[in-house]
Structure formats: C-alpha cells, structure tokens
C-alpha cells in the first residue's frame, strides 16, 4: 500500500517536472519587461485585449532593463519590452533583436520630501535640480540596478557637470576580460543611496528615508494615489525634455534563437502599434491622469 502511494507521488511530481505537460495546448508567449512597466498596471489592462483577439497568452517577467535584455540575449524569452533606447538599438544591431518598434513614452519626475531641503521645487531643469541636491548633500536614492531608469539617471548626472566616479567591475567571459561600468556622483555611502532594486522598492526606500529620487510618472502615480496611505513624496521637478522616457518593443531574432515563437512575438509587436492598442494606451489613466503617451498616433497626445 505504501509502495503504491509512493509511486503515485513520484509520478505526479514527475509530471510537474516535464515542462509543457501542464498546459501543453496553450499558446504562451514569454515577454521580459521592466519593473516600472509591470508596476504601472498598464500590461494588466492591455494584454487581456490581445489575448482575446489572438488567443495568445503572454507571460510577463518583470526585471531591470539589464536583466530583461539579458533574457532576450539568452533566448529565455520571445520578446522584450523595455525603455533604454540606446541599449535597445544595440540589442538589435548585435543581432539579438529582430527589429525595434517605438510604442509609447512617458516621462520621469524627480521626487522629494515635502520639506524639500535642496529647494528644487518647481524647477524644470533636471540636471540643475540634481546638482542642487548633490551640493546640499541631501539624501538621494538611486535604483542602481542597471535598469532603464538607472541609465537615464546616470545620463542626467553626467549633464550636471559634477565630477563623477566611475566604477568598473571586471568579469571573465569566454576567457576574456570584460568590464562593466556605472557612474555616480561622489558621496556614495553618505548621501547617495544606491539600492539596486526595482522602482517600487526605490520609492518606499526614498519615502522611508525622506530622500529625493527619480521615478517614472506611471509608477509614481500608482504609489501616490493607487493605495491607502499614499506615498509621502512630492513631484518637485518635471517637464524637462531630458526626462523623456521612450518604450520600445523588440521581438527576439529567430536567426539567433530558432526556438523563439517569433510569429507570435511579431504579432504582439505589431498589435501594440495598431490603432486599437494605441488608443487603449492613450486612454489608460492612473488615478485620473494619463500615464503613457502613444508614439504612433501622436495626435492622441
């Protein structure tokens, strides 16, 4: 009797381990995206429409942009939906992505506590605002996770003209040395908190420390108005062109990874720039405010 039970358990567990058996008949597309896209709630609204139309279900893996692109390079996912234009274009140029379509954009905002110790409230020049924060030595929280937001933040620090520290890690890859570098202003470990976590985490961290930080508007709205006891941080600096944040969708190139479901990925990419999806994006509101601006139908802006 015990033997039989053991057998049943073994077989059942074995079934779980064989990939695909559980839902072999379903059409599942794997998409890597950034935490900020996921956190904004946009995909939860958008993707069911796509599934309804095409019968293709989309599995979303939310990570930092770096990891999302890495997933694409390794062929772990079929399609990548991120916001770091330079890196996306390199991803396509290196042959990992088939093509890139601009889908939409939103913008970043610089947040801070109500007390605003660095006095940046109402500023429109983002680098100037950061410079004032640095000069004041007021606490600033950086994603520090190699994400799109982090990439944007680094470019803004560069624009301040402040001396930056470049940090390089060397790793060995295919027996050759590679180095990865990131930049940050001087003051790490004093006022500059590099936490290496997602957008939501960075917001709660900044709130906890009553620090300045940079966030995409969508996630900010969600945390400020979308929950009980909203985020205790204010928008202090916005409207700078350099805070512009474009999102692109890139199917993984089947020439690099023949196993990816390119056909479906292609369909999703094209659907996202279709009038229907673009309208849906334009209509998506977070707490009464438009969060994303479609790129194809710019008239809807």
């Amino acid at each position: 009797m015990q033997r039989q039970i053991l057998w049943i358990i073994t077989v059942t567990m074995g079934l779980f381990m064989i990939p695909g058996i559980a839902n072999a008949t379903e059409n599942v597309l794997k998409m890597a995206t950034t935490t900020s896209t996921e956190n904004s709630g946009l995909l939860d609204m958008l993707l069911p429409h796509f599934t309804e139309e095409t019968g293709i279900r989309v599995k979303v893996f939310a990570k930092g942009t770096g990891a999302a692109i890495r997933d694409g390079m390794d062929g772990n996912v079929d399609i990548v939906f991120v916001h770091a234009k330079d890196r996306e274009e390199r991803f396509v140029a290196d042959g990992y992505g088939a093509y890139r379509l601009g889908v939409m954009h939103n913008d970043f905002v610089i947040l801070g506590p109500f007390t605003d110790p660095a006095e940046i409230k109402g500023m429109h020049d983002a680098p100037m605002a950061l410079k004032k924060i640095a000069e004041k030595g007021a606490a600033f929280v950086s994603r520090g996770d190699d994400s799109g937001t982090h990439t944007k933040e680094q470019s803004l620090w560069k624009a301040t003209g402040l001396p930056l520290k470049t940090e390089t890690v060397q790793i060995v890859k295919n027996l050759k040395k590679h180095s990865f570098s990131s930049q940050h202003p001087e003051g790490l470990g004093q006022w500059y908190h590099s936490i290496g976590q997602g957008m939501g985490k960075a917001l709660t961290y900044a709130e906890e420390k009553q620090a300045y930080t940079m966030a995409d508007r969508g996630t900010y709205l969600k945390y400020k108005f979308g929950r009980k006891g909203g985020l205790d941080l204010e928008i202090l600096c916005q409207g700078d062109n350099r805070l512009f944040n474009p999102y692109g969708i890139i199917p993984v190139d089947p020439k690099k990874h023949p196993h990816v479901k390119f056909q479906w990925a292609d369909r999703l990419a094209n659907w996202l720039v279709s009038p229907k999806a673009q309208h849906l994006i334009a209509q998506y509101k977070i707490e009464g405010q438009q969060a994303f601006f479609p790129d194809v139908i710019s008239t809807l802006k």
Binding site: G64, D145, I171, V172, K173, N174, H193, G196, E208
Partner: protein, 231 residues
C-alpha cells in the same frame, strides 16, 4: 561549463583586486552576520539551557514550536519586522528601516530558534551524571550550569556555526530590512541578487564563490579554536 570557469576566474580576480567597494560589501556581510549571531547566542544558549534543564507545563509544545520556527521563511521575518519599524509602524520614530540595525533585528529573530533548539539538543545529550557530579563537588547552580555548558561546548559551537551559516547566506531579510543600499547595507547575498537582476550572472556566481570562501575561512577559524579547547 564555460560559465563556471568564467565565474571562478571572475571570483579570483575579484578577490585578487581587493577592490575597496567590494571589500565594503564583504565587511558589511561579516559585521551584520557576526553581530546577529552574537546576540542570538547570548539569547539562545541560556534559553536552550533552561528549556533543557527545567520541567514545566507546555515544555514539549514549546520545543515543537521552536522546531517549527527552524523553517521560518526569511520573507516572513522581514515582513513582520518591516511592519514594526517602517515609518508608519510602531517603532517608526527610531528610523530603523534600511539600516544595519534593522538587518540585525531580523536576523536575530531568524536564528534564535536555531541556536535554542541546537542548544537543547546538545545539552540533552550531556550525561545526567555531570550535573550530579558538579553538585556533589559543591558547585552552586551557576557553576553547575557553566560546567554542563562546557561539556556541551562542541554541540553549542555547532549551533552557533549553523546560525552564522544561515544569516550569512540569507537574502530575504537583508534585502527587505537592509534595502541593499550600497556602502550601507549591501551584503554579499543582496549583491548577488542584484547582479542576477542586472543579468550579470557570472558576477553573481563569482560573489557566491567569494561567500563560500569567506564562510570557509570563518569555519576554519572556529575549528582552530575548537581544536585548542580540546584539552
């Protein structure tokens, strides 16, 4: 296979370079873990001793609960402590969240059951005759307790090593309560999680190798002292 060779070489170059930022990460790991282990031992060893040596109602139930707490997920501890020390929590005014103190609080909660149950096991294995011998030789209760603890020292050292191993390797509490802030609360494990998130797997594994190396060094250190104590 290349992946692991790459990881090993990266780990070697990481250790070899003695990069100050990397050393800070190792330092924070060791400092936080040792502090937690020390505090948990100060709490857990006497508690275990008392439980092993006294009879009271609900003793068995207490031991069962402690054994259950051995499988306490770090995330649960993290959330629990978070709720108390965040700015909106009861102890919010102390500004504890995202500090090393917060990590220590969480880790102590995590490993006190480990130290306690291991101590109970170690003390229970000690022959009853030791207690009687100590008493008949005129020892008072404190001296008797000390003599028994001394006899159980290998078991108790094992308890402390196991607890240290648990905290130096855990990531949930460090991430949730420490916040992975570079130079403040970034530890080897949260750094690993971050490098994984960034897609730098090789660096992540390299850090893992460094962690094991550090743990190995700590264990060698303990072993050396155990050897010394074995008169």
């Amino acid at each position: 296979m290349d992946f692991f060779i790459d990881s090993f070489l990266s780990a070697a170059s990481l250790i070899w370079s003695m990069d100050p930022e990397f050393l800070v990460v190792v330092y924070v790991s060791l400092k936080v873990s040792s502090t937690s282990t020390l505090i948990a031992s100060i709490v857990g060893v006497p508690t275990g001793f008392l439980i092993a040596f006294t009879e009271f109602r609900g003793r068995r139930l207490l031991i069962t609960i402690l054994n259950t707490l051995l499988s306490l997920p770090t995330v649960v501890v993290g959330l629990f402590v978070y709720a108390f020390i965040s700015r909106r929590g009861v102890f919010g005014v102390y500004d504890l969240l995202y500090t090393q103190k917060a990590m220590v609080i969480g880790q102590v909660i995590l490993i006190v059951p480990i130290v306690t149950t291991f101590t109970i096991a170690a003390i229970s294995r000690i022959d009853e005759r030791y207690r009687k011998t100590a008493l008949t030789l005129g020892a008072n209760l404190l001296q008797t307790a000390w003599l028994i603890l001394r006899e159980a020292r290998f078991g108790i050292a094992a308890a402390i090593i196991a607890a240290f191993g648990r905290v130096i390797a855990e990531v949930g509490i460090s991430m949730m309560l420490g916040g992975n802030a570079k130079g403040f609360t970034r530890t080897m494990t949260t750094a690993m999680a971050l490098e994984y998130d960034k897609g730098l797997f090789v660096l992540s594994v390299a850090l893992g190798i460094v962690l094991l190396t550090v743990s190995f060094a700590v264990n060698l250190f303990f072993n050396y002292f155990q050897g010394k104590a074995r008169v």
